[in-house]
Symmetry: C2
Subunit: 472 residues, 2 copies
């Protein structure tokens, strides 16, 4: 009669099954307002269960107001509770396993196979065991003091930067840092001043917040400071290793940037995304060192350790700190403490320094392998941009043009590579350049990938097969 | 002559010490443009170090453009690189240890001392060990499939909700969920429709995004749907346990809310912040069940497990899913995978269900202890609001008034308690109510805390000491 069956083999309690079945019919309008439910005894007999179970189900319906009940009268359906819902069926694309890539030159991908997994595990377990119960509660939007202390100490020993741990704020990575900074610096009708090309994904943080975008062109050394617009607004830069072209911003332009920020009462947002990996000398000193009151420094551990860690940090001028705490508290509250404690221990014991040294050596070799393979595949009809640093190369080709759609075209041919145009704001100025991420690739993968790419370029008419002939 | 000393006992390499010392003088303008540096040989002798070390320091200055060098000529200071920085000294408040609280009735605080720490540790270690290397990379903005599957299964067995894991999106907690939702649903000049009082901290997400706020009063059952404004806009509600007053929204008002959303082409944001803990019956069914196309459901594990976990989830209508992925990718990218994997295992093995059962029992006892202590301290001159659920009580006092400043006044007297007025948008309507968080307090702490509060109320003239006389 009631059109439902109880299922004893599932984990949903019988009383809830009854409650759900009746409720569903009420909500769908199949049981109408004022209609009487059968007595609990009657229903219990019909369903062959205890009357108590039915009573509990009715109590739930009553507590939530789906039915009304008066002493001595039958339980009736309440007024105005039907909404006639029919869930729309959605045509779903099930998560399909894509075919494996034939060439994968994506940028910003560290080598995860060489991460000292076991060591990190041991350190995590130790950090976990030593963690007090208080740490299960809210531990604050700024991040664990122990981690901030260790980052400060690392900045000093690796870059000679003197930073008070109280000025360091832990983030969930560089993208997260930028999205909070976009809020922090926002003023009505504000523009963000950026290098062009820039990391177009990172720029979304500012666009989403409602900033206008003012582009400043770059040359092989980075941002052209004499092209800075005559407006006030924060400047987002990558001075240690311009993304994507790879320049190191020269000292006079650094000084010009600082003067620009001072004169316009504005701030420089310095993204130091991969400066640990420099192969022809020591890491470049951050712009931050030139004026800690005008520069917001963004550091991240995604590239030096692993992306899933979701820990980075910013160094903030004092005037922005209170607002930062407020924003963090009202967006994602804080980082979880476990990874923070493990990272603090990893830094304290200098395992971090050792890991960076070993990865720097590895990446230098891979970069060399890529240069050799480029020479073998493309002879001398290309030239390299930027400093010997980071996890990718920007390569200019003598007589090829790659528009932003090149990326998708490659992708559907199982090649992952990004043209510089993809990251350009003003299109057409960098159409002859491609980005080759190499950090995550074995030398053999680099060689094979380049062969696939070359064959593809020939097949699509980007270059003539004459070049297939070996060049010495 | 160069006014700096090398320090051999610190971790900063000598070459970097030289580089930093010279750079500092250049940036500060103490070494002027065009001035010659001493030869590397001369400096090496003076500092009693190898000439090679000095060469490396000069190379760094040269690479970054602080100096220029021409064949055969001395190295000179570059043009335009001085910025005359002097870091402002900031008067800092060092993080002071506050005096311990005498009474701590803060809301939303679960009992962390009863969390099965060791068990969680074992499960985390297991999950950690089983994690593949791929998980160190980017694992996607939606969250681990294993966790989404286990949440779906939990929703089914605990609430009878049938939810496709593909509709579940992992968040970094409920506050984080709300801040992404505020972006997701935003339209120019949009208003957010909220219960009044509401959780005023959570409301910040919408205010920060630029929403107008339209208040709708609540009674003891929750939002008064016949007072809904005649505007279009999302509605943020807590129907299972109205925050802070504790009502369960009746079925007819639930239906009215759904109709409102359909008629206005809008969405209901349902915050189910503590519905697992209901003491007089089963958990209330989410509003979500009545129309999965119009309700965005927010669940969190902060209250049932521990806040530092930073994991919650939303169930999203299909039309919002792509935009959600975009927003997450461009704000904080994703949750770290470790806690997700551990939580999935905790759910899969039903340790979660067991923990909830045991905490429900504990909280029920504590709630009873608070009611008994209130009776002992305040006789019958108070009444309780709302359903027997959650981690706090809303209590109305017969003849006392607490304005929002009451909170700070208590705090500076080492009492932590929140008047309902603090969470009110229209002030003055709930001045006679206080919120008592009890989940994190032992019965003795509840009793002692109430005695302290009562003495404070008498001392400040809120009530007469005549009430100190025992009431039976």
């Amino acid at each position: 009669m009631w059109g439902f069956e109880l299922r004893r083999e599932i984990e949903v309690p019988l009383k809830r099954q009854i409650y759900l079945a009746i409720k569903e019919q009420i909500v769908a309008g199949k049981l109408r307002a004022g209609e009487a439910l059968p007595s609990t005894r009657q229903l219990a007999e019909e369903l062959k269960i205890s009357r108590n179970t039915v009573n509990e189900a009715f109590d739930m319906l009553l507590a939530e107001g789906f039915v009304v009940s008066r002493q001595g009268a039958p339980t009736r359906i309440a007024e105005g509770v039907a909404v006639h819902t029919e869930k729309k069926e959605v045509a779903r694309q099930r998560e399909e396993q894509p075919l494996p890539l034939l060439a994968d030159f994506r940028t910003g991908q560290p080598e995860l196979r060489r991460f000292p997994n076991y060591l990190w595990q041991q350190i995590s377990i130790k950090a976990f065991r030593e963690m007090s119960n208080d740490m299960l509660g809210y531990t604050g939007p700024q991040g664990l003091p122990s981690l901030r202390f260790e980052i400060s100490s690392w900045l000093y020993r690796s870059k000679g930067l003197v930073v008070d741990p109280l000025d360091i704020f832990i983030t969930a990575g560089a993208t997260h840092a930028l999205s909070v900074i976009a809020h922090l610096l926002y003023r009505q009708d504000q523009a963000i001043i950026v290098e062009d090309p820039t990391n177009i994904e990172m720029l979304q943080s500012f666009i989403n917040k409602g900033y206008q975008v003012k582009r400043v062109p770059v040359d092989e050394f980075g941002l052209l400071t004499d092209k800075l617009p005559r407006i006030s607004g924060p400047v987002y830069v990558t001075p240690s290793h311009q993304f994507p072209l790879g320049g190191i911003l020269p000292a006079d332009r650094r000084a010009a940037l600082i003067r620009f920020a001072r004169e316009n009462d504005s701030y420089i947002v310095e993204d130091d995304y991969d400066s640990e990996f420099r192969y022809d000398g020591d890491p470049v000193s951050p712009l931050y060192a030139m004026d800690p009151d005008r520069v917001i420094y963004i550091g991240t551990f995604s590239k030096v350790l692993f992306p899933a860690l979701r820990i980075g940090y910013v160094i903030l001028p004092h005037c922005h700190q209170e607002r930062w705490r407020y924003l963090r508290t009202h967006t994602d509250v804080q980082n979880p403490p476990f990874e923070q404690a493990a990272l603090a221990e990893f830094l304290r014991t200098r395992k971090f320094d050792r890991h960076i040294r070993s990865m720097r050596k590895l990446y230098r070799e891979r970069r060399q392998a890529l240069l050799t393979a480029l020479k073998a595949s493309f002879g001398d009809r290309w030239r390299l941009w930027g400093d010997a640093a980071g996890l990718h190369l920007a390569v200019e080709f003598e007589d090829m043009q790659f528009d932003p759609s090149f990326k998708d075209m490659c992708r559907s041919n199982r090649i992952r590579i990004t043209p510089v145009e993809y990251h350009a704001i003003a299109k057409g100025l960098h159409a002859n350049k491609l980005l080759f991420g190499y950090g995550h690739l074995e030398p053999q993968q680099i060689e094979d990938g380049l062969a696939v790419l070359k064959a593809f370029l020939i097949a699509r008419g980007y270059m003539s097969s004459a070049r297939l002939a070996p060049l010495k």
